[in-house]
C-alpha cells in the first residue's frame, strides 16, 4: 500500500498529535470510508472525507492605511473595510468575522457567546443536582437532615435560572421540590415526636 501524501490533504493525528494521517488506497474500517495511517505513530484510521477537506480557504487581504482613510479599531495600521453589526466599530479584513449571520468583531463574539443560548458552552443543571440530592442520600437516610434543605434551596434558587439546552420541562424540579419538602416534613414530625416522648417520660417520672 503506497501513501499519497502529495495527492490528498493530510489530517493531524488525534492520538500522537505529532504526525499526519495520510489517506491510502483501500477500504477503511466502515463500509464507505477510505483507509489512512499516521506517518509518525503508524496508527491505522478509517477516514470519511467531506468536501470541506479539499476546499481552499480564501485568505483575508489586509491593506495598509493610506493618508486619511479609516483605520481598524484593533489594528491602527490596517485599513477598515467593514463595520461591526453589534458595536459599530470599524474593522479590517482580519477582525471582521462572519458569525451567527452577521459581521462581528472578536469582542462582540465573546459577548454573544456568554449571552446567547445558541452559543453557550456550559450550563448548571440545578434540577438534576437537586434531584440527586434528594434521592442519593436516601441510601443513608440520616444525611437527608442536611441535604433536604439544600435541595429545596437549589429548587428555589434554580427555578428562574437558565437550565439545560436539551430539556424543555421542569419535572425534575417539581419532583425534587416535593421529595425535599417531604423529607423536611418527616424530620419535623420526627423531632416533634421526640420532644413529645421526652415530655411524656418527664411527666411519668
Amino acid at each position: 500500500m503506497v501513501t499519497t501524501a502529495a495527492a490528498s490533504p493530510a489530517i493531524a493525528c488525534p492520538d500522537c498529535k505529532r504526525g499526519r494521517v495520510v489517506m491510502q488506497v483501500g477500504a477503511g474500517l466502515l463500509a464507505d470510508d477510505v483507509a489512512g495511517s499516521c506517518a509518525t505513530c503508524q496508527r491505522v484510521y478509517g477516514i470519511v472525507p467531506l468536501p470541506a477537506l479539499g476546499a481552499v480557504r480564501a485568505k483575508p487581504r489586509v491593506e495598509r492605511v493610506v493618508s486619511e482613510e479609516a483605520a481598524c479599531f484593533f489594528h491602527d495600521a490596517n485599513q477598515a473595510v467593514s463595520v461591526c453589526d453589534d458595536c459599530g466599530r470599524f474593522l479590517c479584513a482580519l477582525c471582521g468575522i462572519d458569525f451567527a449571520g452577521g459581521n462581528l468583531c472578536p469582542n462582540c463574539i465573546s459577548v454573544r457567546k456568554q449571552a446567547d443560548a445558541a452559543l453557550v458552552k456550559e450550563r448548571m443543571t440545578y434540577d438534576s443536582l437537586a434531584l440527586t440530592l434528594t434521592l442519593v442520600p436516601l441510601l443513608v437516610w440520616p444525611f437527608t437532615f442536611v441535604t433536604a434543605p439544600i435541595a429545596l434551596g437549589l429548587v428555589i434558587f434554580g427555578w428562574r435560572k437558565p437550565g439545560s439546552l436539551l430539556r424543555r420541562n421542569r419535572w425534575r424540579f417539581v419532583l425534587a421540590g416535593l421529595l425535599a419538602a417531604l423529607q423536611i416534613a418527616g424530620w419535623v414530625v420526627f423531632i416533634l415526636s421526640m420532644f413529645k416522648t421526652a415530655d411524656m417520660v418527664q411527666s411519668l417520672q
Binding site: 500500500m1 503506497v2 499519497t4 495527492a7 490528498s8 490533504p9 489530517i11 493531524a12 488525534p14 492520538d15 494521517v21 489517506m23 491510502q24 488506497v25 477503511g28 474500517l29 466502515l30 463500509a31 464507505d32 470510508d33 477510505v34 489512512g36 496508527r43 491505522v44 484510521y45 478509517g46 477516514i47 470519511v48 472525507p49 467531506l50 468536501p51 470541506a52 477537506l53 479539499g54 476546499a55 480557504r57 443560548a117 445558541a118 452559543l119 453557550v120 458552552k121 456550559e122 450550563r123 448548571m124 443543571t125 440545578y126 438534576s128 443536582l129 440527586t132 435560572k161 437558565p162 437550565g163 439545560s164 439546552l165 436539551l166 424543555r168
Partner: protein, 174 residues
Amino acid sequence: MSARASKPAYKRISGLAGGVATHASLWLGDGHFMQVRASIGQERYQRFFLKDIQAFLVRPSKVCRVWLVVCALLALPGVGMLAWMMSGAGDPTGWMIYCCAILVLAVGGMLGARTRRVYVVTAVQTTQLHPLSRPRKINKFLARVRPLIEEAQAGLNTPPPMPSPAPEPTDPTA
C-alpha cells in the same frame, strides 16, 4: 422573552455513553450538531458546524479486548477452584456462581464496550465523539449526518478528496 422560550431546538442523534455520574450524547441543531457531556449538576456543550466539518476519523479501540483479558484473568482462579471442588474437595456452588458472574461481565462487556473511536475533524480542532463507540452506531450517525453536511457544503464545489492510485514502482537498476 423568557430563557425557556429562547432555547434552540435539538434532536437526539446518538444515545448516551459513559458511566453512572457522567455521560455523553449527540444532538442535531440548526446547522450544527452538538456533543453534550453531562455530569451531576452540569452540562458542557461542544458544537460542530456542518459547513466546517472536514472529515470523520475512525479507529479501532482496545477497550473491549482489555475487558475480555481482565475477565479471563478474573475467571482463571474461579475455574481452577471449580475444577478442584468438582473433583470432590467440597461444595462447588459458590465457585459456579463466581464463574457465571464473570461470564455475565464478559458478555456484557462484549456487547457494550467500545470497539471504535470516532473523531470529528475541522480546520481548527480534532475532537473525539464519545457516544460513537460501536460500528452500528457510527454507521447510523453517518447515515443521518453525512447528507446534511454535504448539503451544507454544497457551495464549496469541491468533491471530497480521495487518494490517488499508487504510482507504478520503478526499477532502480534500470
